[in-house]
């Protein structure tokens, strides 16, 4: 498998310092769906810089050649010269354009589909404002869904089926591939591949409403073995040890188990597989604690952040679908305690 990172050409190796540590920059990419784009990008960037330098230089030279007298207006002249500038300039520009068009088409052809058959197919659905990631079949335990985190095995192409549950979003993991929109009523296909294990940041790129700014996802590329282990773990339904049988849970009983409280307060929107919490409006929380961040990338997934989020999501991400819960202190602690068991 190729592991060559996309090149940063020598003359421009000193890329702006700002780009060196920007997790969303796409001049340093990490997979064959993005690398040809990066090479083309460097190509057109260099051509563009040259054009600005040359034309800017010509302009400056023209300005300094024989400036008119500041005291008065110089005489009007009619010089036949000048047309050759247009012929020459346009001629050269046209050649450069043709070259870059050919390069564009070649790059196009090389990234339209992956070289080898994608091993893994994932369905990603954009929601206001989070990403649902669904792994279908191919495994005895059947499919499962998670949120805002796309785990993939490194070194192989992944096919992503893109849909939207509401408005238009755009799926973008700059280090791994260009953007593809998620459009309601239309399923788009994208593919990406990470050559090396690592965490790659993604972001919704099409303006989708109030919290468009907070609609990130993370692509976690792992070795095939690690990925398999993660996948099998996620596919399990969770029954926390010591939980009472689900059927016996009494929603009204105060001081019930955390699971009961969760089902009552959260289960209409969230699913925890293996319990009666089967809501589909919000993310599947079966393995919540295995995720790195919460609220589509807004906060690191710590108990403190989780507490703040459950208590009053509207304060942290105004407009999001998660309501301010108005839980009592003990109730909040009970639910948090339960969430912590969802590993």
């Amino acid at each position: 498998m190729k592991t060559r990172p996309a090149p940063c050409p020598a003359p421009l190796a000193a890329c702006p310092a700002a780009l060196a540590d920007a997790p969303l920059d796409y001049l340093h990419t990490a997979g064959p769906a993005a690398d040809p784009l990066t090479r083309l990008g460097w190509g057109v960037t260099i051509v563009s810089l040259l054009v600005v330098a040359v034309v800017g230089g010509l302009l400056l030279a023209a300005l300094r050649r024989r400036p008119g007298d500041a005291a008065g207006l110089p005489a009007v002249t009619r010089s036949p010269a000048g047309l050759s500038w247009i012929y020459l300039g346009v001629g050269i520009s046209t050649l450069v354009l043709l070259g870059s068009a050919v390069w564009t088409f070649a790059t196009f052809a090389s990234v339209t589909r992956p070289r080898s058959r994608p091993g893994l197919r994932v369905a990603v659905t954009g929601h206001q404002w989070w990403w649902e990631v669904r792994y279908e079949g191919g495994h005895a335990a059947g499919g499962f869904s998670t949120a805002n985190e796309l785990h993939i095995p490194a070194g192989q192409p992944i096919l992503v089926r893109l849909d939207s549950a509401d408005v238009i979003h755009s799926f973008w993991v700059p280090k791994l591939a260009g953007k593809t929109d998620a459009i309601p009523g239309q399923t788009n296909l994208a593919w990406l591949q990470a050559d090396r294990p690592g965490v790659y940041l993604g972001q919704c790129a099409e303006y989708c409403g109030m919290q468009h700014a907070h609609m990130n996802l993370q692509v976690v590329a792992e070795t095939p073995e690690d990925f398999r282990a993660w996948h099998d773990g996620q596919a399990e339904a969770v029954v926390p040890p010591g939980a009472r049988p689900v059927a016996a849970a009494s929603p009204e009983a105060p001081g019930g188990t955390g699971q009961d409280a969760f089902i009552v307060r959260c289960g209409l929107c969230h699913t925890v597989r293996g319990t009666r919490a089967r809501g589909i409006l919000g993310p599947d929380l079966t393995h919540l604690m295995s995720r790195r961040r919460i609220a589509a990338g807004l906060l690191p997934n710590t108990v403190g952040n989780l507490g703040g989020w459950v208590a009053n999501a509207q304060a942290l991400k105004p407009g999001c679908a998660m309501p301010a819960m108005e839980l009592s202190g003990p109730e909040l602690q009970t639910i948090l305690g339960y969430l912590e068991t969802l590993r």
């Binding site: 563009s48 034309v55 390069w103 196009f108 109030m210």
Partner: protein
């Protein structure tokens, strides 16, 4: 002087003299009556042009303030100057204001003011329609801003993608304000465009054959033709959206057989040509005025004029380059990528023509010239970043990031604002009789130029560092903090430059040096009139013999000589000369309408109609529609005074100068 008002008469020649009885007669015929009624009913293109300019600059200030608020919010990560709702409304209004309420109307202002003067006519072809298009522009702008004041603000960006703007996701009235406002505004654009197209082919001074038409008219004419074809697409799109929202039609709803991408196609079929509509006339300002300061005619006039037209034509075939990431088939994407590349060619023609004009001329470094020269560099930068986004696969990375934001600002500020300000410095003395202050002008230019590049060059890097557009905030650690601070700083420097400009305008209006008719030794017909021009523009209609009427003695251009002092006075009421479309042979005396409040009333009636539609006041809307119709009927009621007919005996004066071969215009 004849005593009849027979429009079929053979007109008499007269010599121009600004104190003559003919001049007084003309002044009486053309002057706007004093007082508020006169002000409201004037159809004088000079008054309307000034109003267009002032109104559009007003919207520029509003849009600029919105931009500054945004830059305060984005200067630091996780800032909370604005709530997300507020930010989304402000960025939407900024785009709507600048792109629709500033960028075209400011250019329309130039054209409305200047066209009759540079074409040697006394007004545009349809003076009352001209007033109507101004009033509709003003009222549609106020309509959209009224929503802002009453909390009904669109928040979906200027391109307003469905389904985010569909009723389930955006139930408030903001989107309806925008949708109806745009349909309303489209009327203004369309009326103005029709006026320009007809004027260009009907009202040129005798002898001003099509190859002698001043360059500035090429940009506006091309853009107007483009508008007539492009605006219906967007008016339709907004109307369908309004229907979807109000009457549950399903044009854009996949659940009902519609498709969200229909919106994007309709919008960009209009939106991309619109980009050329708001830059081509500005580029033509440069092609018109830059040669004056280079002391030579524009290099390659005909090629540059043709490339202006070609840009517009190609501009209709590139709209999909805004939709490269929507999952369209690769073959069609390749076509649109190639077409977008091809647009560089006519742009290169213009760039090399400007540089060659500077190089082979003797540039005079006035403030106006600085703006034009600076514009050329910004044009190149905005052009190459456009070329980069045309490379489809790379555009999958660039699109929707700040790189595109940087690109659009280099295009709209670099190619629209800089030529516009240069144009004001150039034509201000014609409009006001006073020169603008050159010292303040230099400060003005350099503050703007430095502030602009300080603010918008780093935006390219922000885009390359992955910052997507339209986010109300961002977190630390993404490598964007320093660049964002720089951008905000640049924005404020730029704003200071804009402030200097308005300061200079105000100071120069009061205390500017007296200009005289032709302070720059320009070549166009407008410089043959006093500054500011009299109500009738020309005491006698000039007869044109070359492309540079005021320079032809020095350029030894053409065969005959332009006659500025002797020509037709046409002083029996409001009259101007109509001429043939290509050769500009005079063939009719055009009776021009008197001032009238009808355009204002019609625009008010339409405003009421749109308000009724917005508030679901159907009866009110219907009544407003009827009143508008009534005003229209009264307006169009045949007036014997305005009767005219192509005269059998063409009112020839001297044998009109024949247009010569293409080599010697």
């Amino acid at each position: 002087m004849a005593t009849t008002t027979d429009p079929y008469r053979a007109p008499t020649l007269a010599r121009d003299a600004h104190e003559s009885p003919v001049a007084e007669e003309l002044q009486r015929a053309w002057a706007t009556r004093p007082g508020i009624l006169g002000w409201l009913s004037t159809v004088d293109h000079k008054a309307l042009g000034r109003r267009y300019l002032v109104t559009a600059f007003g919207f520029l200030i509003l849009g600029g303030l919105e931009a500054l608020v945004m830059r305060v919010q984005l200067a630091r990560p996780d800032a909370a100057v604005l709530t997300p709702e507020q930010y989304n409304q402000v960025f939407t209004m900024h785009g709507v204001t600048m792109i629709f309420l500033y960028a075209l109307p400011i250019l329309t202002g130039f054209s409305v003011y200047l066209w009759p003067l540079i074409l040697g006519a006394r007004d545009l072809a349809f003076p009352r329609m001209n007033a109507l298009s101004y009033w509709i522009f003003l009222f549609s702008g106020l309509f959209i801003y009224g929503g802002f004041l009453f909390g009904a603000t669109p928040d979906a960006g200027w391109f307003n993608y469905v389904p985010y703007t569909a009723a389930p996701y955006n139930p408030g009235p903001g989107i309806d304000v925008y949708a109806l406002g745009m349909v309303f505004f489209g009327l203004s654009t369309t009326l103005a465009s029709i006026n320009f197209v007809v004027t260009a082919f009907r009202n040129r001074a005798p002898g001003m054959s099509i190859n002698r038409m001043p360059f500035f008219t090429w940009g506006t004419l091309t853009a107007s033709a483009g508008n007539i074809l492009a605006v219906p697409a967007v008016s339709l799109a907004f109307f369908l959206l309004w229907m979807d929202r109000q009457f549950n039609t399903r044009f854009f709803d996949p659940a009902g057989g519609g498709h969200p991408l229909l919106w994007q196609h309709l919008f960009w079929m209009f939106g991309h040509p619109w980009v050329y509509v708001i830059v081509l006339p500005a580029m033509s300002i440069v092609s018109e005025a830059l040669p004056v300061f280079c002391r030579r005619p524009l290099v390659g006039f005909s090629v540059v004029a043709l490339s202006t037209v070609l840009t517009m034509v190609l501009g209709f075939g590139v709209w999909v380059h805004h939709m490269f990431a929507t999952g369209l088939p690769p073959l069609s994407l390749s076509f649109f990528s190639g077409a977008s590349d091809a647009i560089v060619i006519p742009s290169a023609v213009a760039v090399f023509a400007w540089i060659a004009t500077i190089r082979t001329g003797r540039p005079v470094f006035t403030t106006a010239f600085l703006f034009f020269a600076g514009f050329v560099l910004l044009f190149v930068i905005g052009g190459v970043s456009g070329f980069m986004t045309a490379a489809t696969p790379f555009d999958w990375q660039l699109t929707d990031t700040y790189f595109v934001v940087a690109h659009i600002h280099y295009v709209l500020i670099g190619i629209n604002v800089f030529p516009v300000l240069g144009g004001i410095y150039y034509w201000f003395p014609k409009m006001t009789g006073r020169l603008m202050n050159e010292t303040l002008g230099r400060w003005n230019f350099w503050t703007l130029f430095i502030g602009f590049n300080l603010g918008f060059l780093p935006m390219h890097f922000l885009g390359l560092a992955g910052m997507v557009r339209r986010v109300y905030t961002y977190r630390e650690g993404l490598g964007w903090d320093g660049l964002n601070l720089l951008v905000s700083l640049g924005a404020f420097v730029f704003a200071a430059g804009v402030l200097l400009f308005f300061a200079n305008v105000l100071v120069s209006l009061k205390r500017g040096e007296r200009a005289g008719p032709n302070p720059w030794d320009g070549f166009g017909l407008e410089w043959s009139t006093p500054s500011p021009p009299p109500a009738c523009n020309f005491t006698v209609i000039p007869q044109v013999a070359s492309r540079h009427p005021l320079w032809e003695d020095r350029l030894d251009e053409g065969h005959g000589r332009t006659s500025l002092r002797e020509g037709l006075p046409l002083a029996e009421g409001r009259e101007t000369l109509g001429s043939t479309a290509l050769d500009a042979e005079p063939n009719v005396i055009l009776r021009m309408p008197e001032d009238s409040p009808a355009p204002l009333f019609l625009a008010l009636g339409l405003t009421a109609l749109f308000l009724g539609l917005l508030r679901h006041g159907w009866i009110f809307a219907a009544l407003s529609g009827l009143v508008s119709l009534g005003v229209l009927v009264a307006w169009l009621w045949p007036e014997r005074e305005l009767g005219q007919r192509e005269a059998g005996g063409t009112p020839r004066i001297n044998p009109p100068p024949r247009p010569s071969g293409p080599g010697r215009p």
